[in-house]
Symmetry: C2
Subunit: 293 residues, 2 copies
């Protein structure tokens, strides 16, 4: 593992956490239990992967780190809202998230639903407050396209429909490119947009994000098979138990690992086309491929 | 009732419905059940009050009607998402909405939650796609502030907390200015913003929207007491049965009616300060005061 990347990721994480803290509402601006529920899930130990991707792309293209910070925080809010809603009893009914009881176990279903709604809404308020040179309206459109009915929400619908119903590699790719892939792709794109990149470069960043998102989900599936609950922060082996479509389930563990390596390689190839140095982004690909949790 | 206003409201409704139809996703861009659930609630017979307010403000300030159309559609999407989520079993547990079974009764809880999430997300995609002269980033910030943790969501949290717990006029105003008021205020503000109005005029429109929103909620409370379920399209008398805070419950029916008349009068006084003719907006106030449903 490259120490330079780890250090940069640590710095970004600190800056993003400080900015998130500043953006979250506090009483009496919003009801105390709602504020508490929003903060509980935002600060439950997330890796800040999507914010880091947006900021690293933006920085690679020459923008100062703070330029993409509002968009980065918005990405984390959208990601967190989706986890809160996915964990609900009516959805995946998960009691554990990031190693802690999920939102509805702590605050009740109503507050959990509303905390998710409020985080999703706040994401757009924060993204729309990006500096003018970051093109806030375009950032909002990208975030919404990644998170919405054709992106992340579509992936959750398909994921639930597939549960126990089986399916093949096509179904799995449909789910993954949307459920996690669409927002990771959006992260790469808003990073480029906030740096003022040309449409062509934004598309290139999007193709890179697409591969990285796929890789992220592959290693997530592999970790669910191989890691222990304690290391993972969520219930390990749950996918297999629920009959979920996963790469290891469809391809076997070794082939899934090989496919992950190929996907990482494809992401690195796309990076070569970027009109800028991209060392940190290349290291990020290797980090995702080899991540322990 | 003024025929001129009714005609204009009818035209706006047609234009908004056509635009909403165009903005809603269709398969295969999004999963069929999700598209169906989104369209079901959007086209369940809403009065399009918030879109009409935004468009009438925008037009009064001299903008062509289509200028505020994306923001108007976004308002209706946000309003509709809030109804879907409020009706959920974990929230108000309502089986009937706008005279039809509520979303979760038809599509199940998971799809209802996701349809709400997708509508909220789409609202910001559409609002962010407003023409540049309408200041899409500002519109997004206003919509989010009205809909979020300090606005509509805060109102729903407080409304649920107050249920059965009693409370006074202060609690009732806290709830109403947020649960319905904040988005109606935002509607008036985004109408002014989309017309390119000065900040001062945007604030004035917001103060008008605030009074109109309060009035809207007062007549809603009064109708819940006096109308029949058939006319109302939702279960009548439910507020009283649930021990909800309402104006008639706190003030008595006659005093509630008098307070509504005073609020309408205050709204009309604010209108007088507007730097433009505002006949349709004045008629809208009377329409809300005397509305039959």
């Amino acid at each position: 593992m490259d120490e330079g990347l780890l250090e940069v990721l640590g710095e970004i994480r600190k800056e993003v956490d400080a900015a998130l803290e500043g953006f979250l509402p506090k009483p009496p601006a919003a009801p105390a239990p709602l504020c508490e529920a929003m903060a509980y899930s935002i600060f439950a130990g997330g890796k800040r992967f999507r914010p880091a991707l947006a900021i690293l792309v933006s920085q690679a293209l020459g923008a100062p780190r703070e330029r993409a910070l509002p968009a980065a925080c918005a990405l984390e809010m959208i990601h967190t809202y989706s986890l809160i809603h996915d964990d609900l009893p009516a959805m995946d009914d998960d009691d554990l998230r990031r190693g802690k009881p999920s939102s509805h176990k702590v605050f009740g279903e109503a507050t959990a639903i509303l905390a998710g709604d409020a985080l999703l809404t706040l994401a757009f308020e924060v993204a729309a407050g990006s500096p003018p040179e970051a093109d806030p309206a375009w950032i909002c459109r990208e975030l919404a396209a990644g998170a919405g009915a054709g992106g992340m929400v579509a992936g959750q619908v398909a994921d639930m429909a597939a549960e126990g119903a089986g399916g093949g590699l096509d179904d799995l790719e449909y789910i993954h490119t949307r459920k996690t892939g669409a927002l990771i792709r959006a992260a790469a794109r808003v990073g480029a947009i906030s740096a003022g990149a040309e449409a062509e470069t934004v598309d290139l960043a999007g193709r890179f994000g697409e591969k990285l998102g796929l890789l992220f989900q592959m290693t997530d599936d592999i970790l669910d098979e191989t890691a222990r609950t304690k290391d993972l922060g969520k219930t390990a082996g749950k996918d297999a138990a629920a009959g979920k479509l996963t790469y290891p389930a469809l391809l076997g563990l070794e082939n899934a690992r090989e496919t992950a390596r190929e996907t990482a390689s494809a992401a690195l190839t796309i990076l070569e086309e970027m009109p800028c140095p991209h060392r940190m982004l290349a290291l990020l690909v290797e980090f995702v491929l080899d991540r322990p949790s």
